[in-house]
């Protein structure tokens, strides 16, 4: 069985030969410092540390490392639009994206923070006058179909299309600022809805363009929209169901019309409360399965939702065990998560979000060794 077959079976809620492993994606890779430490630990060359995403400061790991960790998925990114040129301001260590969102890294910081938001007034007039980037700029997909076909031809991995943009809620708050958007939710719901609708329209155009090119080739489409904090929803479930859920559904409807690929939703935090809604709104896969957040116990998540959604992530608690445990602790944790999430398929192993700078290399090795060792079906036998 090759990687592609393995992943497709798992996404179909069937048990392949072993649990598929995701390593090196937009939310399953590692910080460049952790990467360098890992390469040194393994005696691998450290001359190339390619940053895959500026915001999160994560790398595109070397193919040899992905092979070593038995990674089953390979990713593809659309390009920037033709009128955007990335420029880093070295004096402030900041940059502006094509939406006008400012990112800044503090001295000694590990990654960039959202530091400036273009929608300052929060009015409909401002929104109507705001110049959104062009979602259908053809440069975004230039050569992308050929690239997808090449990836399918040259390896046996499953193919995932990434897009470093926010979802309907996330992109709203990247444009407006989180606290201002929370205030808008309190005082100006009409504005929140108008903003959500504009963002959705953009996403529909963007994904329409991208999937017209690569829809026939990809197996997973990656969306992102954090709804949870450590303890529960970031804002009221009623508001999510009224404003964002129907828009998520319109987006997944478009994606499912354009491709047979499954829709992957990255949704951090305590989000058990949202799973029935996310399933209803057409999400096929939920990531990262943040086990340290409230009500995110993997055994009950699998029991209650395992037949209806694929769990992608949940590899090991990333707040205590992965950074501060021993390699043995990490392996025990992985074993436990696999026993909870793997039975019946519908599970892809991945670290819970990107591996951070201070995770010891021996723990990273233990994570993926255990994923391979304990992930052989029938698990636990």
């Amino acid at each position: 069985m090759n990687s592609r077959e393995r992943v497709l079976l798992a996404l179909d809620h069937k048990e392949p030969d072993r649990v598929p492993i995701d390593f090196g994606g937009l939310v399953s890779s590692l910080h460049h410092q952790a990467y360098r430490q890992l390469l040194e630990y393994l005696g691998m060359p450290t001359d190339e540390i390619p940053i895959m995403d500026m915001f999160q400061q994560i790398v595109d790991p070397a193919p040899a490392l992905k092979e070593r960790f038995h990674a089953d998925i390979v990713g593809l990114f659309p390009h920037d639009s033709s009128d955007f040129e990335f420029k880093l301001d070295p004096t402030t260590d900041s940059f502006v994206d094509e939406w006008g969102v400012v990112y800044r890294r503090p001295p000694g910081g590990y990654w960039y923070d959202l530091a400036g938001h273009p929608l300052k007034e929060g009015t409909i007039d401002e929104l109507n006058a705001f110049r959104f980037p062009d979602p259908r700029d053809v440069n975004r997909v230039k050569g992308l179909a050929n690239e997808a076909q090449r990836l399918l031809r040259e390896n046996d991995k499953a193919l995932m299309i990434h897009a470093p943009i926010g979802g309907v809620f996330e992109q709203s708050y990247w444009l407006r600022g989180l606290e201002p958007l929370f205030m808008d939710m309190a005082y100006n719901k009409k504005y929140v809805e108008a903003l959500a609708e504009r963002v959705l329209e953009w996403l529909l155009e963007f994904w329409g363009l991208v999937l017209d090119e690569v829809g026939p080739y990809v197996h997973v489409v990656e969306l992102s929209d954090d709804l949870g904090g450590q303890h529960g929803p970031l804002f009221s479930p009623g508001l999510y169901r009224g404003l964002y859920k129907p828009r998520h559904h319109r987006l997944t409807d478009l994606i499912h019309r354009k491709t047979e690929a499954k829709v992957f939703l990255h949704c951090c935090g305590s989000i058990r409360w949202a799973l029935p809604d996310l399933i209803e709104s057409g999400m096929d896969i939920i990531n990262p399965v943040q086990v340290s957040a409230r009500n995110m116990e993997t055994d009950s998540l699998k029991r209650d939702f395992g037949e209806d959604i694929v769990f992608w992530g949940g590899g090991a608690d990333a707040t205590k065990v992965l950074p501060f445990g021993t390699p043995r602790d990490v392996k025990e944790e992985v074993k436990r998560r696999i026993l909870d999430l793997a039975p019946g398929g519908g599970f892809v192993f991945a670290p819970i979000h990107n591996i951070q700078a201070d995770v010891p290399p021996e723990n990273i090795v233990a994570l993926f060794e255990a994923a391979h060792e304990y992930g052989q079906y029938t698990v636990g036998s």
Binding site: G109, D113, F182, M183, A186, G232, P233
Partner: protein, 210 residues
């Protein structure tokens, strides 16, 4: 009038309603301090309780806080002088190089809601600025927030700077933020670690009772 309507208006996040009701209460001879202590403060405690019960979320807290602040806006001029004697003062800020402030803002809101007088220094606050604020404002509590392991080290620097300036003994230091732990709080010589805004209120009261 039924003064409990003031609490209902705060919990509802109805700022104009709070203003109108507070003005009516004042006109009917109710003491401003009593309105704060017996109605505005308990209303924010109820807001906190609803957040803990997952009935309220951050938008609702911001709305209720804004309503409460509107009421305080009516009462403050009437209480000038009195509250300086009775209120406990807090200076709060996010440490140097750190621009995350939502959590710190929630703490400031809940402490203000609990009757503390809060001066918020904002974000990216250098140690020297914290020390100067302690020197000038003489707060009972200094609150410091950080969201990153790379910036929380500035808390230790600030505590050391307070000691060097002979001010450490005059203020209680409370720390909080995602990377903070009780162990780190103890290590740097802070007086309390608050895992969230509700704990901050309870701990602040406890620190001042001791």
């Amino acid at each position: 009038m039924d003064l409990r309507e003031i609490e209902d208006a705060v919990v509802r996040g109805d700022a104009p309603g709070v203003v109108a009701l507070v003005q009516r209460a004042v006109a009917e001879g109710v003491e401003p301090l009593a309105i704060v202590a017996e109605h505005l403060v308990p209303a924010m405690a109820e807001v906190g309780a609803r957040f803990e019960r997952e009935e309220f979320f951050v938008p609702e807290i911001l709305m209720s806080s804004s309503a409460m602040q509107s009421g305080m806006g009516v009462l403050k001029p009437l209480m000038a002088g009195q509250e300086a004697v009775t209120a406990h003062r807090v200076v709060i800020g996010t440490v140097q190089s750190d621009i995350h402030d939502l959590g710190k803002n929630l703490v400031a809101i809940m402490l203000g809601g609990a009757g503390f007088e809060v001066e918020d220094l904002g974000c990216d606050v250098a140690s020297e600025k914290f020390v100067e604020a302690v020197r000038q404002k003489e707060p009972h509590i200094l609150g410091m927030s950080a969201l990153m392991t790379t910036t929380m080290t500035a808390m230790r620097d600030t505590i050391d700077a307070l000691a060097e300036a002979d001010l450490r003994g005059r203020v209680k230091v409370m720390v909080g933020g995602a990377p903070l732990t009780q162990a780190y709080c103890d290590e740097i010589g802070a007086d309390a670690y608050a895992p969230d805004a509700w704990a901050a209120v309870k701990l602040a009261k406890k620190l001042l009772d001791a």
